[in-house]
Symmetry: C2
Subunit: 396 residues, 2 copies
């Protein structure tokens, strides 16, 4: 039994949100490598040291608090979205710190802590853990730029005075990440804890319908090759055709659209849009891809469109380790009997990358109204503490 | 009979395209108040003077060649789109010049010529003729800016050394505008001449569906309020509901779309799009508006969306004058027997504005493949000459 201290945990969690506090609700503005992010990481390193862990920054800003021997790793990330909530990854970092600290105090099992850098993707997607796990080459990462054109190499140079080598992952026996759900399931169902079964896989690609740009007054409807209309028909058709393939947990999104020339008096000659779909099952992802490609082809042929695709981003589903997951389930059953559930993670997390290095598992607490990546993001303190308790029990 | 000279007409037409020649096909880059546009207008003024007309620039760059007595007015505009074709409005200006010149040479009826300024809407829509006709207040026009932020007042100051007063429209008995069709009807049907029955009316407004921005991984499909999906469903529904209301000449277009936040991993929280429709019948335009508003309301209610509208731009249909139109029909029947048709104009033209001042009529020649506002815009020279002939006959 590790006697995690709820008050100390909550005090640290609230202190962390003073770095980059937005002044709106409990929100924070703490994107990777910002002054607030670096200050928060320096403070975290000091708290790790006070807890008897050895703080260590790697070359890309990932901060480890190492228990000094072969250990379980716990944590998440402390950077935020440009307009972020106070919990998001910060919760998992501070919960790991409290469990590691409490365990050390009572001579419990050694537990190391990590705060990965740029999970929120200022420079890509889960950048820090992707580099550490070998999913992203450092030389390639250095060339990635943020929306303002700043290269990753320049951003990470801001922490060069802190940086040591990369940490050897072989010293860790596994990784447990606690996180807010960032979705509505737990809140809607009144559950306190979600034990993650798998992190869903993602497919994401750009689709372009090329039609014929034309005058919106003089081009009769029957002679138009209107790229917006093609995109709209495509969206309706896949919504219909997916019905026999998907589960209630499957999601798909057209979130980005660019019309050309995008003028009210011109029939759109080109529509480029993002097509993203997520599911825990690789076969289902593939069946959906078939439907997407065959439907787009049909629409293009029927409407005289050129059809082209950008490269498809593919991230495979990551199944949680049975042993670690079992420990979380036992913890959940004793902390929140009848008030927890097994569930997939629809969002990517650092655990997706770390899964390439070692066994991983994840634990969710509810997001009020499912809101995250927003200043209004919040979770009841009782639920935060319940999550801490489950984590502490699983660590044993 | 006015003996319009086809060779002189074509020579002038080709000379005009040397001002702002794009070097691609016969295309021109001659937007309103550009150096090329002003040089072209100076050349046109000189050609008018040689033809015995009195050239006169008004304060907004409209160039008149006045026949010195009560006269019929003919012409169009000599400015082009940023990437324009050589004919567009230039054809109507040069054809008018040739007919006026030829008529003067044989002591025929007095004919005045006009090249309106900024028909292509660098600063709005048919700016020069809109100001002349009183449809647009000069003080208000002066505050309009182009895409680069240049105000109309600053642009027209470039021609201040040429400017006289506004021309009194009372001296003109009517206005005939020859123009390329800018659509595919004549070319598709093998006709040489189109006599315009009316210029269609336009309705154009911005529609916004406001849903809930959300994480595209963690938000289940059944809990989404996806603004893109609402827009797509709206488009499908109006396509269906319009079927019992429209004619083959009716058109409607969603040409401009803005999603917010427009990211592939975020369920769109807001979609703003242009809804434009055109028809020659005011009642039909109103029935379409009812369908648009009731369908948008239904979609918004069914999908939990906020619905809002921008201001609706409304331009009423303009019916061509029966007398002038009859003269064009007689000319067409003798120049191109069995090879002409009556047709609406789906595009706006300067004649739309001039119709507020005097009787107006319009004449179309074919656009090859219906292409215009493009360097590739073209018309067979035989068809250009046929149009000139019809204009000359109608002028008598």
């Amino acid at each position: 039994m590790i006697p995690a201290n709820p008050d100390r945990f909550l005090a640290d969690l609230h202190h962390l949100r003073t770095f980059g506090a937005s002044g709106v609700d409990k929100g924070v503005v703490r994107p990777a490598f910002s002054d607030a992010d670096i200050a928060a990481r320096r403070w975290l390193a000091a708290r790790m040291e006070e807890a008897g862990l050895t703080p260590h920054f790697d070359p890309v800003g990932n901060l480890f608090g190492i228990a000094g021997e072969r250990s379980l790793l716990m944590g998440s990330h402390s950077d935020s979205q440009p307009e972020g909530g106070w919990l998001d990854g910060a919760l998992g970092v501070i919960a790991a710190l409290e469990v590691a600290r409490a365990s050390r105090e009572v001579g419990g099992p050694p537990i190391s802590v990590v705060s990965f850098q740029d999970e929120e993707g200022r420079f890509g997607v889960t950048t820090g853990s992707a580099i550490w796990s070998g999913n992203l080459d450092l030389a390639k990462a250095d060339t990635l730029t943020d929306h303002a054109g700043v290269p990753f190499a320049e951003a990470r140079a801001r922490m060069a005075d802190l940086a040591g080598d990369f940490v050897d992952p072989a010293q860790f026996t596994g990784f447990i990440e606690m996180h807010i759900e960032q979705g509505p399931w737990l809140d809607t169902e009144g559950d306190k804890i979600g034990v993650v079964s798998d992190i869903v896989g993602i497919r994401d690609m750009r689709v372009t319908f090329g039609g014929q740009q034309n005058h919106a007054g003089t081009t009769p409807m029957h002679l138009r090759r209107d790229a917006f209309q093609a995109m709209s028909a495509f969206s309706s058709a896949i919504n219909d055709r997916f019905r026999n393939v998907v589960t209630p947990a499957t999601v798909w999104t057209i979130g980005h659209v660019t019309l050309h020339p995008n003028a009210s008096s011109i029939v759109p000659g080109r529509a480029t849009f993002s097509m993203q779909w997520r599911d825990g099952d690789t076969d289902r992802l593939a069946r959906m891809e078939e439907i997407i490609r065959s439907t787009a082809q049909e629409i293009a042929e029927a409407r005289g469109m050129k059809l082209s695709y950008g490269p498809m981003l593919g991230l495979e589903p990551v199944v949680m380790d049975a042993g670690l997951r079992g420990a979380l389930e036992l913890g959940a059953a004793s902390v929140a009997p009848g008030k927890w559930r097994k569930m997939p993670s629809g969002a990517l997390h650092d655990a997706t990358n770390v899964g390439a290095l070692m066994p991983v598992a994840m634990l969710f607490v509810p997001s009020i109204n499912g809101i995250s990546h927003d200043f209004a993001e919040d979770t009841a303190e009782a639920d935060l503490v319940a999550g801490l308790e489950v984590l502490a029990r699983a660590a044993v």
